[in-house]
């Protein structure tokens, strides 16, 4: 298990550069420029095989939009710019410029898979888990015995094959989560995006889900774990390798998990950690900003004036990068 040591020498499985997502809100009367939702702005990160990157932030900061953008599943009013280079044995392509049919037929599930938010509702309610898993197996790996492969996928994520015969409403939260992971792994993807996989689960199930994703990464996948649960990352050491912190659609800080969690570089990260039970339960004052009205650089100084310089310059030290400098120095 890799903990803290940085091995960025390997080629990234997915390199996201300057990813920006805007939603048009329709034509507003009397305004020349239609209002836009700045869902994500200039987001860059690399996912490496065998590593788990945790993307952390409060609800509504634009985390989940990223998976939709990468998989081409955003609604029609979204504009996506930037680059997301997927490279691997099957060749390289840019997810953001690839056509919808290619994404559907050659990329989704096969090279980059999603573990969706709320696993139970992402399953079709009138069909059994097995029917849906075997269907994906037949579609993604033609020629294999769907039943046998479904059973082995179930074993791999810690489900009894008999559990697959249940309908989605008969699955517990944890079982539904495992089915979702099994569905994501069916096509042997190089990259797995897990969108809030631990939301709504109780603590033991959260820890087990993180463990499951760790195993997926250890088997060679590059894993992106989107979460708002910084506490779980702290509680389970080694669950993730790297951390990126997102606020109002921008990454404010990123680096090796152990370093960032021990000595946050951005004031926002520090406040997030302080809001945890282990950090003293100090609530963050104010509200996350409206994504329709954002400043050019770091939006954090608007919520906590005087805490950071609000600049738009990314400061790098080694593997760590911080978008703007905290003004009150010192770890939390």
């Amino acid at each position: 298990m890799t903990t803290g040591t940085i091995t960025t020498t390997s080629l990234p499985a997915l390199a996201v550069t300057g990813l920006t997502v805007r939603f048009a809100l329709g034509r507003a009367r009397g305004r020349r420029i239609p209002p836009q939702v700045h869902a994500a702005t200039d987001v860059s990160f690399d996912l490496h095989p065998g590593r788990v990157l945790a993307l952390v932030g409060e609800s509504g900061c634009g985390k989940s939009v990223l998976t939709g953008a990468l998989l081409g599943l955003l609604p029609a009013n979204a504009t996506v710019t930037g680059a997301a280079g997927l490279s691997g044995p099957a060749g390289s392509l840019d997810l953001l410029t690839t056509g919808r049919t290619t994404l559907a037929r050659q990329v989704r599930g096969r090279r980059i898979a999603l573990v969706p938010q709320s696993a139970a509702t992402s399953l079709t309610p009138v069909r059994s888990a097995r029917a849906q898993l075997e269907e994906v197996v037949r579609e993604l790996c033609p020629g294999t015995d769907a039943r046998v492969r479904a059973d082995s996928l179930a074993e791999r994520v810690g489900l009894a094959p008999a559990d697959l015969d249940r309908f989605p409403h008969e699955l517990s939260g944890g079982m539904a989560q495992r089915v979702a992971v099994a569905l994501a792994l069916a096509g042997e993807p190089q990259v797995v995006l897990a969108d809030e996989p631990t939301a709504g689960l109780d603590r033991p199930l959260v820890d087990r889900t993180l463990g499951l994703l760790r195993e997926v990464a250890d088997a060679g996948c590059a894993v992106l774990l989107i979460t708002h649960d910084l506490g779980a990352l702290r509680r389970v050491p080694g669950a993730v390798d790297d951390v990126a912190v997102m606020y109002a659609g921008r990454l404010l800080e990123s680096g090796p998990a152990a370093d960032v969690l021990a000595a946050p570089g951005h004031d926002y990260t520090r406040e997030l950690l302080a809001a945890l039970p282990s950090g003293g339960l100090v609530p963050i004052p104010g509200q996350p900003p409206q994504l329709t009205d954002l400043p050019a650089g770091c939006a954090w100084h608007r919520r906590r004036p005087g805490r950071c310089d609000g600049g738009d310059v990314v400061h790098r030290t080694g593997a760590r990068s911080v978008r703007c400098r905290a003004l009150e120095a010192g770890p939390c």
Partner: protein
């Protein structure tokens, strides 16, 4: 909730959580739920049928028309008072209406439906002769309407704003505003009179023997018109519920797994969209019966629905009463079947639901 040690990988069986069972065997319990639903619906249907019978007899009693006239027809005017009294006594029409009704219900149970004056034969044989033709017409129309609604409705929803959607949806709104008999007359005008493509009356050409080919060509227009009269509601309901289910999480989930769009629509979006569709189908059955009355009348189709109009025009009370009751039973049975089908289609319905 007890925290399981991380070493224990399997989730605790969810038997303890409400609403789930330890054994994944949903079918017997679903069947039980369906049976319970059927019993509940029957308990509702019996009073409705009785209510309709009471209503028909009470109305007949309140109407200016003498029930005896319904039995005697033209003879009512010529028969002497003595003869009238004797027959009235025999038939029981001189009794208060509720006693008449009770006697009639008793006869019904023994299989004696009385005699239809307008057809000059027992009501039983009128029904036996005409029911198959109505079933043929309604059956073909229903299948046609359901198939068209599913295919075109899914197509319109899956390619929202595409040419099928832009053609079919306004046409449906137009059809919704057009009564079935106007559609029927329009079909007669265009395909029967204008183009002379298809026959517009009866089961066979005049004088031709009854054959499958004859009936098939004579069935085309009535069945199509009857299907069209119900199509807009069915199609728009498929389209609407499919649009709804295409926006649901489980469809996005299926799409993100890399399934082909066809599989996503047909195997994930459509199955959940079908549940409201079956319910709509159940509620449209009454309208289908109404449509059958009009279509049989326009196309002189010798079915039961046409007999409803004949018996009403001729005041053939014994036949009218039986047909009213029969239609009510058919509609109630149809909606019962739709409800049971909904239960059987949806695994989420629990035995105690």
């Amino acid at each position: 909730m007890t925290a399981a040690p991380p070493a224990l990988r399997r989730d605790p069986a969810p038997a303890a959580s409400p609403g789930t069972r330890a054994t994944p065997a949903p079918r017997p319990s679903r069947r039980r739920a369906a049976a319970r639903m059927a019993v509940r619906r029957l308990a509702f249907a019996v009073p409705v049928v009785l209510g309709v019978a009471v209503g028909v007899f009470a109305l007949a009693a309140a109407s200016p028309f003498d029930p005896l006239a319904g039995y005697l027809g033209d003879r009512y005017l010529t028969a002497s008072q003595d003869v009238q009294d004797r027959i009235a006594d025999e038939l029981g029409t001189d009794r208060p209406w509720y006693l008449h009704l009770l006697g009639w219900l008793g006869d019904l149970l023994t299989g004696d439906l009385g005699t239809s004056r307008s057809f000059g034969q027992p009501v039983v044989s009128v029904v036996a002769e005409r029911l198959p033709w109505t079933m043929l017409l309604v059956g073909v129309a229903l299948v046609l309407a359901v198939v068209l609604a599913l295919v075109l409705g899914s197509w319109a929803a899956a390619r929202r704003g595409g040419w099928v959607d832009r053609v079919v949806t306004p046409l449906c709104l137009l059809l919704q505003g057009t009564p079935p008999f106007v559609v029927a007359l329009g079909a007669v005008a265009v395909f029967g009179v204008g183009l002379s493509w298809l026959p517009v009356a009866g089961l066979t050409d005049a004088g031709a023997a009854l054959s499958a080919g004859q009936v098939a060509t004579h069935l085309v227009l009535p069945a199509t018109v009857l299907a069209l009269s119900q199509l807009p509601w069915l199609l728009l309901s498929v389209r609407q519920s499919l649009l709804g289910s295409l926006a649901e999480d489980h469809v996005t989930g299926a799409r993100s797994r890399g399934l082909a769009e066809r599989t996503v629509v047909l195997r994930h979006a459509l199955p959940t969209a079908l549940l409201p569709f079956v319910t709509v189908l159940g509620t449209r059955l009454a309208e289908l019966v109404v449509g059958a009355v009009l279509v049989e009348e326009v196309f002189s189709w010798p079915g039961l629905a046409q007999a409803v109009v004949t018996s009403a025009t001729e005041l053939d009370f014994p036949l009218l009463a039986v047909l009213t009751l029969l239609t009510t039973v058919a509609v109630l049975l149809g909606s019962l079947l739709a409800d049971v089908a909904t239960v059987l289609l949806d695994p989420r319905v629990r035995a105690d639901g």
